[in-house]
């Protein structure tokens, strides 16, 4: 175990970049990054073939530390850059890491359309219920009634369920995990990367500095422990009553469907267009020359 950790540290981190990272002590982002790297290490993918993109915010800094082809894009736009990369070079494995505000507020439209389009990309969304980097404002996943720096009287809006949103929008693979369930997280990230089509992993994570502190949820340890207590595997939740599920949330795989992947379907478009163009060219050769010689 320790040996593997050492291999991953050596192999995947950028050592010419001065650490420490920008994340607060106890932040869940490091756990997600660890699970991602262990997952990729397990899949034995070449570092040259992996593109890791991100948006803006705490999660957006993750690619800086990792030795892949890394792109820190604009706020909310990681999936748009990823779409261009994947279509231009389909052989690359493209993974986008985003935050909840990044993916579902400013990038919400890109997120649902990437899911609808079903391009072969992986989206990892770290959901910590707040905009941490900018100082703890309310995000699309801040719970009703919660306090934030922009809802000091208690939040009056309702939260998105990101994974459910992805299922409805048409993603091929959707799973939810938490930073407590690190091994499970590694597995679902692996499965997401291996899935052909658009795959989404929502990770429930802690921002004890901004969100936890203002809502009396305790420090990193208390918040992460609460995921252990409140997360219920989907299969088990199906057998539980609404009363039993009060205050809980589900984790596990919400969707895993096989359907045509647009980035692959486009190869058919190219083949058909080429065939058509050749046909027109040969027709021109027989009719066209005469036309212009007249």
């Amino acid at each position: 175990m320790l040996e593997r950790a050492e291999i991953i540290r050596k192999e995947y981190l950028r050592h010419d970049k001065k650490f420490p990272h920008v994340w607060c002590p106890g932040c869940g982002n490091g756990i997600v990054m660890g699970a991602l790297l262990r997952g990729i290490h397990g899949l034995q993918l070449s570092k040259d073939d992996i593109v890791l993109t991100s948006g803006i915010g705490c999660s957006g800094r993750m690619p800086t530390y990792i030795d892949f082809n890394t792109i820190h894009t604009t706020h909310g736009r990681a999936l748009t850059f990823s779409t261009g990369i994947k279509l231009a070079k389909p052989e690359l494995t493209v993974i986008a890491v985003m935050g909840d505000g990044d993916a579902t507020a400013i990038g919400g439209n890109h997120f649902i359309h990437a899911a609808r389009r079903n391009i072969n990309l992986t989206a990892i969304i770290i959901n910590n219920s707040t905009y941490g980097m900018t100082g703890g404002q309310y995000s699309p996943t801040t719970p009703f009634g919660s306090k934030s720096t922009t809802s000091v009287y208690g939040h009056v809006e309702h939260a998105f369920s990101i994974a459910e949103l992805a299922v409805t929008a048409g993603a091929s693979f959707v799973a939810r995990g938490t930073v407590y369930h690190a091994v499970h997280l590694e597995e679902i990230i692996q499965q997401a990367i291996m899935t052909r089509g658009f795959s989404v992993v929502e990770v429930i994570s802690n921002c004890h500095v901004q969100h936890g502190r203002r809502n009396k949820l305790g420090g990193a340890v208390e918040m992460i422990t609460s995921y252990k207590e409140n997360a219920v595997m989907i299969g088990k939740a199906a057998k539980m009553s609404p009363e039993e599920l009060e205050g809980k949330f589900t984790i596990g795989i919400l969707a895993n469907v096989k359907k045509p992947v647009s980035s692959e379907q486009y190869q058919r478009v190219i083949a058909e267009a080429r065939q058509n163009a050749e046909k027109i060219a040969s027709e021109k050769e027989t009719n066209g020359v005469k036309r212009y010689e007249e």
């Binding site: 970049k17 890394t70 820190h72 894009t73 261009g84």
Partner: protein, 380 residues
């Protein structure tokens, strides 16, 4: 002008010629969102790109289109988008990213009346200053204008060449008149067209410093997946591409990205002088208005007035040298524009010879006609 008499001519619309130019330049990726009067570019590329093994995608909006274009370019593919005013507004965010991360790409803005939804089916030149300053922060950018169908072809090729050579977004400003005018043009064969591609690193990957300065000021650019793993960001970054707040590194970065364009002024700034040799009064015009101006100048010459036209192909960086020469030669300059005077501001800014500047601005959704310009030429 690419019209070659001997060659077979084809009737093309301005928008179609932009497509022909882009494909000839090696563009193999397009992402866009439907908008009048630029939609023909999308429609035609959706047919033509896959024929050449390239990719067309219609995104959910223009923000996404610009993001996808940058992504594809980073993957090593020459990429383009096309839009009009409202979409151009949305693209500004990622155009800034392309400036900072130095991603070659071409953005066509077929100008229509603005602001806001404005006049969707009418021509305008209202986006000139926006093309220069649309995205936030000091940034270098290249803006070219087209006035005819043959321009649409050749300027688009030039746009790709400059974009690749200087690793910068290049904006092509067209307008509704140019976009939808059909003319018979003879397009040169592929082997006659000089193309420029970005320079790739030739050092081993471990020696590669993605944003290191060199004598061109333009770092070598590795494509994603080519083994040169590096970091790309919209944050101000050091030579290795990593975010920095070190004041020396920040200043060095800004000076380099501005400097690389200054180094290329000679080839970037293009103007066309018509009947300027002995001109005493001249018109500065660009886009479709340049055609009205040429007619007016010819008519003025017929009346014995020594008039000339300086047509701007490059709008930014502002072709100061050539404009300055003629401001010193002539006593009056007429500046007709389909806006409230966006380019005449630039001319005033550099007018050290105290040439009299007469603005002529039309913003009613119609092309300025030759008579309006002739009236100035005969009365001032």
């Amino acid at each position: 002008m690419v019209i070659v008499e001997q060659q077979k001519r084809v009737l093309l619309q301005g928008n179609e010629a932009i497509v022909a130019g882009a494909l000839a330049a090696g563009c193999r990726f397009f992402a866009g969102y439907p908008i009048t009067p630029a939609s023909e570019i999308s429609e035609l590329l959706s047919v033509k790109l896959p024929e050449l093994g390239g990719t067309f995608i219609q995104m959910e909006d223009e923000i996404a289109s610009m993001g996808a274009v940058i992504g594809a370019s980073l993957a090593g593919t020459k990429s383009m988008t096309a839009t009009s005013g409202p979409g151009f507004s949305l693209m500004q965010e990622n155009i800034g990213y392309a400036c900072v991360a130095e991603v070659p790409c071409v953005i066509v803005n077929v100008m229509r009346g603005g602001p806001s939804t404005g006049l969707p089916t009418s021509p305008s030149q209202g986006d000139v200053q926006m093309a220069r300053w649309g995205t936030h922060g000091d940034h270098p950018i290249i803006v070219l204008a087209v006035s005819s169908v043959s321009d649409c072809f050749s300027v688009t090729i030039k746009a790709f060449n400059l974009s690749e050579k200087y690793r910068t977004p290049v904006i092509i400003l067209s307008d509704e008149v140019v976009a939808h005018t059909r003319e018979a043009v003879a397009l040169p064969d592929a082997e006659q067209i000089r193309l420029i591609d970005r320079i790739k690193p030739d050092v081993p990957p471990e020696w590669y410093t993605p944003y290191a300065d060199n004598n061109r000021g333009v770092p070598d650019m590795a494509a994603l997946g080519d083994g040169y793993r590096h970091h790309i960001t919209g944050l101000i970054h050091d030579d290795r591409g990593y975010p920095t707040q070190n004041s020396q590194e920040v200043e060095k970065f800004h000076k380099r990205i501005h400097g690389k364009i200054s180094k290329g002024f000679q080839e970037i700034m293009v103007t066309k002088a018509h009947l300027m040799e002995d001109a005493e009064i001249f018109v500065i015009a660009y886009g479709s208005v340049a055609r009205s101006a040429l007619k007016a100048v010819r008519d003025a010459r017929a009346e014995g007035i020594k008039a000339g036209l300086l047509q701007l192909i490059t709008l930014f960086p502002f072709p100061r040298k050539s404009v300055d020469t003629y401001l010193r030669q002539c006593r009056v300059v007429i500046v007709p524009e389909m806006n409230m005077g966006q380019m005449s501001r630039e001319i005033s800014r550099i007018n050290q010879a105290n040439c009299r500047i007469v603005k002529h601005n039309r913003i009613d959704g119609h092309l300025i006609n030759p008579e309006e310009i002739l009236r100035h030429l005969t009365t001032v």
